[in-house]
Each structure stands twice: as structure tokens, then as C-alpha cells.
């Protein structure tokens, strides 16, 4: 069943699996496929979440996976219009696009403004870090074209956030990394560690030596952000600082969008959908997949009653309870991301992952340490 009061926060629509580049850490399968979502599928997806009673006063539609701009502008606009036509006018709909920015043109900027679309740009920092992984199929770097797209956004005054994938190569260059992002008028920077998931079976951040190196990187990055008066918003630091401010207050544990059902619904270009972690949609589950329905013929309430969904939810819940029993960070984490548990440990009913070590534990440790130190008088001892 759908828990009473549940409201969808992100309806993630994958308009095409195709991507115009070939990042070596990408987890998405089929990114050479040029299949495109039909507007009827987009409309049906919106109708399903409305029909299920999941839509509240506002909802975010996220166009993500593959490179959405390869759809072409008219086809993409038709998808946006199809969704808007299916959601009651009483709901505030916000569209978001996650893009590598390489195809952004004046015409795309016109569309972003016309439809109030919010933009997330994938950029890994300075060229030597970005181009190490984000390359074309012929092996060429993409930084220059991404920056050209960013320049267009800036010239047009279109706000955007950035997501940077942090790999081992990033860890030795916190200052260069910060100096790249600090002057950009970005709304927020999110750090995505190179994860083990989907078709990406290994991460350069695996291994015993990585955690202390990652910690040193985050410490230096936090110091730079702090020295500049937090002008650069970093998702991980913002969340950890909020956790610090609320520590000691009576409240329930943090919740995680990814481990509660129906807060995220992800639909692929053919209409197949799932919930929990969006990345699950492309993965296999033994001989099966994590698809729990099709927007063309499976109401969400029906999917929520299925044995497959019940099994998935049961295993994810067991993993949350195991985290609660075992981990002092649970109050500030909420039990972890299912896709990372599954991809790293082979089971949802498991606990610690590399992902949670780096994105939760290290971040909280660093922010707590640095903020505590900021208010502590320093004592220097010297002989005279």
C-alpha cells in the first residue's frame, strides 16, 4: 500500500537513454540507444502519480538520464507540455534538466526561460579533472564545450546548480577544485562520489587509503568555503551544518528520499517505472529487474500491492532497521541509499557502504571538527 500522506517529491523522467558523451564512470546502460520517450508516455506518467494521490501542492519533474538535450528542442518541449497538461493547475510544477551543457544554445535558453526550467550542469571542476573522465566516444575532452554552455547560461542570467563527480584524481586538488567553482554563479554544488553501481562495477575511491584522503580533501574544501563566508553553497556541507544546528534537539531521524517508497518515481523512455533509488531502474535483480509497472497499464496503487514491490520494500526496510541498530550516524542519515547497498553489498538488507562512509560519515566528521575548532581558542606553546 501507499503510506498515508505520502507525496511525490521527484518524478524522474528519462527522455532518452542516449548520451552524446561517454564518461568512464557512468552507471547507465544503453547510453548508445537513441530511443526517445513519446509525449503520450510522459503524459501517462504524470497521470499515474496524480491518479495515485501522490501529488501535493508542488512537484518537481526531473528530466535526467542520457543527455536530455539530445532529444532536440521541439521533441523535448512536447514532453514538458504533455506533463504540464496532465497535472492539475493547483499544483506548482517545476521542471529540472540535468545536462552536460554541451548542447545549450540561445534557443535552449529561450525554452529554459519560457518554461521556467531549472538547470543542473554536470561538470567535474577544472579541465584536467573533468577531461580525465568526461570524454566523447572518440576520446576527446568535453570541458571546453561544457564551459561554452555554462557561459551562455551566465550571459542569459539563468540560474543553475552543478554536480561534480569526485574521483581519486580529484582528491589531491581541493584548492584547484574550489578555485574553479567559486567564481561561478552557481546556486549550489553537489559532490557525487564515484559510485559503484549499475554498469560501473569499480570505483577509484575504493580501498583503505581512500577514506583518509577523502577526508583531507573535504577538510580543505570546507576550510576554503568557510574562509569565503560560505558564498559557495555545497550540498554536503549545508546538510551537515543543518545536522549540527539540530543536534541535541528532539526530532526523529533524518529521512532519505531514496529509501521511502513513492517520494521518487522514475520512469524510463518506454514507460517502465520503479520507486526508491532512481538508479535501480536500469539494474537487474537476479533474473528479474526492478521495474514494478508500466505507466501505460499499471496504476501505482496496483504496483504498490504487488508481491515484487512488497519484497523490495521489505528488504529495504530491513536494511534501514539494521543501520538503526548498528550505526551512530543513523539519526543524521536515515538508513542509507538502497542502490548503493545493493550494488556494493549485494543486498538491500545490509548496512555500511563506501557511499555512506564518504558522503555521510566523513562529511559529518569534517564539518563537526571544523565548526568545533572555529569556536575554540587555539593555544600555542613555545619556549622563550
Amino acid at each position: 500500500m501507499i503510506p498515508p500522506g505520502t507525496q511525490i517529491e521527484l518524478l524522474i523522467l528519462q527522455p532518452t537513454p542516449f548520451c552524446n558523451i561517454d564518461c568512464d564512470y557512468c552507471y547507465l546502460p544503453d547510453r548508445a540507444s537513441t530511443t526517445k520517450m513519446h509525449p503520450d508516455v510522459a503524459r501517462a506518467a504524470a497521470e499515474r502519480v496524480v491518479e495515485a494521490g501522490l501529488v501535493g501542492p508542488r512537484v518537481s519533474i526531473v528530466w535526467h538520464a542520457g543527455e536530455p538535450l539530445t532529444m532536440g528542442l521541439p521533441a523535448f518541449e512536447a514532453l514538458v507540455d504533455a506533463v504540464n497538461g496532465a497535472i492539475p493547475s493547483s499544483t506548482e510544477v517545476t521542471h529540472h534538466v540535468q545536462t552536460n551543457a554541451m548542447l545549450i544554445s540561445s534557443e535552449w535558453c529561450d525554452l529554459f526561460e519560457r518554461k521556467s526550467i531549472r538547470i543542473g550542469v554536470s561538470v567535474d571542476g577544472p579541465a584536467f579533472l573533468h577531461d580525465a573522465h568526461r570524454r566523447t566516444r572518440s576520446g576527446k575532452g568535453t570541458h571546453e564545450r561544457t564551459l561554452a554552455g555554462i557561459r551562455l547560461l551566465v550571459e542569459r542570467g539563468i540560474a543553475f546548480h552543478a554536480i561534480a563527480v569526485v574521483t581519486e584524481a580529484t582528491l589531491d586538488y581541493p584548492d584547484e577544485f574550489y578555485d574553479f567553482f567559486a567564481p561561478l554563479p552557481i546556486h549550489l554544488l553537489g559532490l557525487n562520489v564515484e559510485e559503484i553501481e549499475g554498469t560501473h562495477h569499480r570505483s577509484s575511491l575504493q580501498g583503505l587509503t581512500m577514506k583518509p584522503r577523502y577526508r583531507r580533501f573535504m577538510t580543505r574544501l570546507f576550510q576554503r568555503v568557510q574562509q569565503d563566508g560560505f558564498k559557495l553553497g555545497v550540498r554536503e556541507f549545508n546538510s551537515a551544518m543543518a545536522a549540527v544546528r539540530f543536534s541535541g534537539e528532539p526530532s526523529g531521524p533524518a529521512s532519505d528520499q531514496q529509501n521511502a517508497p513513492w517520494r521518487i518515481v522514475t520512469v524510463d523512455c518506454g514507460g517502465r517505472y520503479t520507486t526508491f533509488s532512481p538508479e535501480l531502474l536500469g539494474l537487474s535483480w537476479g533474473e528479474d529487474t526492478f521495474v514494478i509497472g508500466s505507466v501505460q497499464d499499471t496504476p501505482i496503487r496496483e504496483a504498490a500491492e504487488s508481491a515484487k514491490f512488497q519484497r523490495l520494500e521489505g528488504e529495504i526496510t530491513a536494511g534501514i532497521r539494521a543501520c538503526e541498530a548498528a550505526c551512530e550516524y543513523f539519526q543524521y542519515c536515515g538508513g542509507g541509499a538502497p542502490v548503493n547497498k545493493y550494488s556494493e553489498n549485494g543486498s538491500f538488507a545490509s548496512t555500511e557502504t563506501m557511499f555512506c562512509q564518504l558522503t555521510r560519515k566523513v562529511v559529518l566528521d569534517v564539518v563537526a571538527e571544523e565548526l568545533a575548532g572555529a569556536g575554540r581558542p587555539r593555544v600555542r606553546v613555545h619556549a622563550s
Binding site: 560560505f230 543543518a242 549540527v244 544546528r245 539540530f246 593555544v379
Partner: protein, 87 residues
């Protein structure tokens, strides 16, 4: 020759943090919170203002564009998308 020891308050860089924090997390967060309250006390009504203001409250200069009363329980923010609602 006289040898003495003097203690001086400085703002020098602190030693690199250890990799294995010794104190329990709750204790370390409490110390960080106490520190924050000393260096960046919240103005009266900051939390209520934040709840009522969709654009967020700019809390003095210390936090720049970040309002720590918002975003709680918002760790995951899958790829940042919900963060937009917090500003």
C-alpha cells in the same frame, strides 16, 4: 639563560584532524553546535522566519547564502533537485 613557556591565543591553522574521531558522534556534534552558537548566534525568530519565507533567511554574514534552519532532513536531495525549494 632563562627558559619559560608562554601561552598565546592565535588563529593559526590547526593540526590536521585525526582520521578516527575518538568521541561519540553526538558529543562531537554538540561541541560543534556550541561553537556555532558562540561564533554565529541565530537572530531572534530566525527559525520562524525560515519557515514562513520560501526564499530563505540570510543569517548574518557567517553562513553566506545558507540558512541552517532550512534543509534539515534533506540530506539526500537526489542530485540537488529539491534544494531549489530551500532558497
Amino acid at each position: 639563560m632563562a627558559v619559560g613557556v608562554c601561552f598565546t591565543l592565535t588563529a593559526e591553522a590547526r593540526p590536521e584532524p585525526s582520521n578516527a574521531p575518538a568521541a561519540p558522534l553526538a558529543e562531537r556534534l554538540r561541541e560543534a553546535n556550541d561553537s556555532l552558537r558562540r561564533i554565529a548566534p541565530a537572530p531572534d525568530g530566525a527559525r520562524e522566519d525560515a519557515d514562513n519565507d520560501k526564499t530563505g533567511v540570510r543569517w548574518g554574514n557567517y553562513f553566506g547564502n545558507f540558512n541552517p534552519w532550512r534543509n534539515w532532513n534533506n540530506w539526500p536531495n537526489w542530485h540537488n533537485f529539491n534544494q531549489w525549494h530551500n532558497f
